[in-house]
Amino acid sequence: MSVPEAEPAPDPKIKTIEELYDYLYKGLQLEHATLPPYLTALYSLHPGKNSDARHVIRVVAVEEMLHLTLVANVLNAVGGKPDLTKPGFVPNYPTRLPCGPDYFDVHLRPFSREALDTFLKIEKPPEAATEADRFVPVDWTALGLTSDGAPPPPAKLAELEESGTIFGLVPGDPAMRFSSIGEFYEEIIRGINHLEDQARQAGTTIFTGDPARQVTPEYYYSGGGDVIEVTGRDTAVAALTLVAEQGEGLHGGIFDSQDELAHYYRFQQLEKGRYYQKGDEPDCPSGPELNVDWGAVYPVKPDIKLADLAADPEILAAAKEFNQFYATFLTSVNLAYNGRPDLLLKAVWEMFRMRDSMNRLIRNPLTGHSGANAGPTFEL
């Protein structure tokens, strides 16, 4: 996102509409992948405590849902079909996100200083200084996925890409990855520009999607950020830019183009114990103080799996039921993204039921894991 304009226009990685669809599917998978970690941290907060932390995490989670919807709108606008029900759409946690020279693990875990640190990294990875810095060789050994540093065999690689175990890989080039998620979206924008330029030269457009498949503002209420109806190049770029800048802020400021405090700075408030207010510079919030009670948190077992619940049949049954409910929920959202935007309003009701189910799981102490509580496993 920070590439100087003087450099020559680089060769875009996306050269066909099918490749664009693949990138946008990855975008959907990526936006969704932030939700289980945010929700686990959110509902790990003791009831009636930590209202500041609760509010901050909740707003960010809701805006991640907006991002998911924005990416779906772009995919629909270029004639693609969102699919949130593909096997592997939901990662098997921990998953990995690119953060400049390193990858970092994203866990399902309770709210804590470590969790907050991960959230800050998710929202504002280091920026690439030059065009060449946008890509980084994948260190497969450091990821623990091969022993000799070479990419895994094609079948294994395909499985990894499909499963959301690791994000930011450059499709078709297993040796390279994007340095950050921002660069991943930058590549999509370049691809859209490239393909649309080509199409226009031939007297056509890539924006051939049925406008009725767009999720428009009447189907989306959130309180943070407006959904953008994507009808052409400008709105597509606006939607993807909003996705990127809502995380890290616009032009180095703390707000995005819709005047919402960027996610990075929202989270930073919890670290600094103080709210931002209008006119503040990055890293220097000067608003009211806020309090975080780091101890008023249920100790959810990190990256909990159904296999951890063998000694607790009631919890196991509830965790399985939650996973089924979550799968059904994704199916509803998927229908909404495939021509039935009105279903999104009903999906909101399902979200409230999910909240209650997650709360119940998280408040249950485990047997045989001293001092650890249950939580949603998100194994679909």
């Binding site: 009831p47 309003l345 409230f352 039921r353 709360n359 119940r360 102490p365």
Partner: protein, 181 residues
């Protein structure tokens, strides 16, 4: 270490017993997030001995140990009713005092003459404030915490949500209530 494990075991026993007498699963009871607060409330109000006696009693006995009635009611409505009040049905009696605020809308004849428990429960106390067992610290009637109200089992039992909290989403009222198994 031993001490905390002991406290943990006592809490688990309390939840186990509560599951038997409320008809909800242990999972559901823990799921309210109120287990610690309720156990603490019961012990502070009636004393460890009375709670252990109640938990050792036959849950199907009629009439049940009076403290059992208090515990059941606590889980269902999030309100501590001392054993002498646990049988009362008129929740409104104390939540809606008369206009003067001096007496309940429904006459309280379950208390000895001159005793006016609704005054003790008129909201002077903040959530989390300790209510000690014995002597003057005992209170026959109070809401345990703001969350206790929203976590009452009664809402799930009737397939509804507590008004003003745990909203199920705009427009969801077009659906029939969802009853659980």
């Amino acid at each position: 270490m031993t001490q905390s494990t002991d406290a943990e075991n006592k809490l688990r026993e309390f939840v186990k017993f509560s599951a038997t007498v409320t008809g909800f699963s242990e999972f559901d009871l823990w799921g309210t997030g109120q287990a610690e607060a309720y156990y603490e409330t019961a012990v502070n109000q009636e004393g460890q001995e009375a709670i252990e006696k109640a938990m050792a009693s036959d849950p199907s006995a009629v009439p049940a140990d009076p403290v059992v009635g208090s515990i059941v009611k606590l889980w269902y409505v999030g309100v501590w009713y001392g054993p002498e009040l646990a049988g009362r049905m008129d929740v409104a009696a104390w939540t809606a005092p008369g206009r003067s605020g001096a007496k309940p809308a429904v006459p309280d004849d379950s208390r000895p003459e001159g005793s006016r428990p609704w005054l003790a429960a008129s909201g002077r106390h903040q959530a989390g404030e300790e209510r000690a067992h014995g002597g003057d610290g005992r209170e026959p009637l109070f809401v345990v915490s703001p969350d206790a109200y929203t976590e009452g089992l009664l809402w799930r039992a009737i397939g509804a949500h507590p008004s003003g909290a745990k909203a199920p989403g705009y427009g969801s009222w077009v659906n029939p209530p969802v009853f659980e198994d």
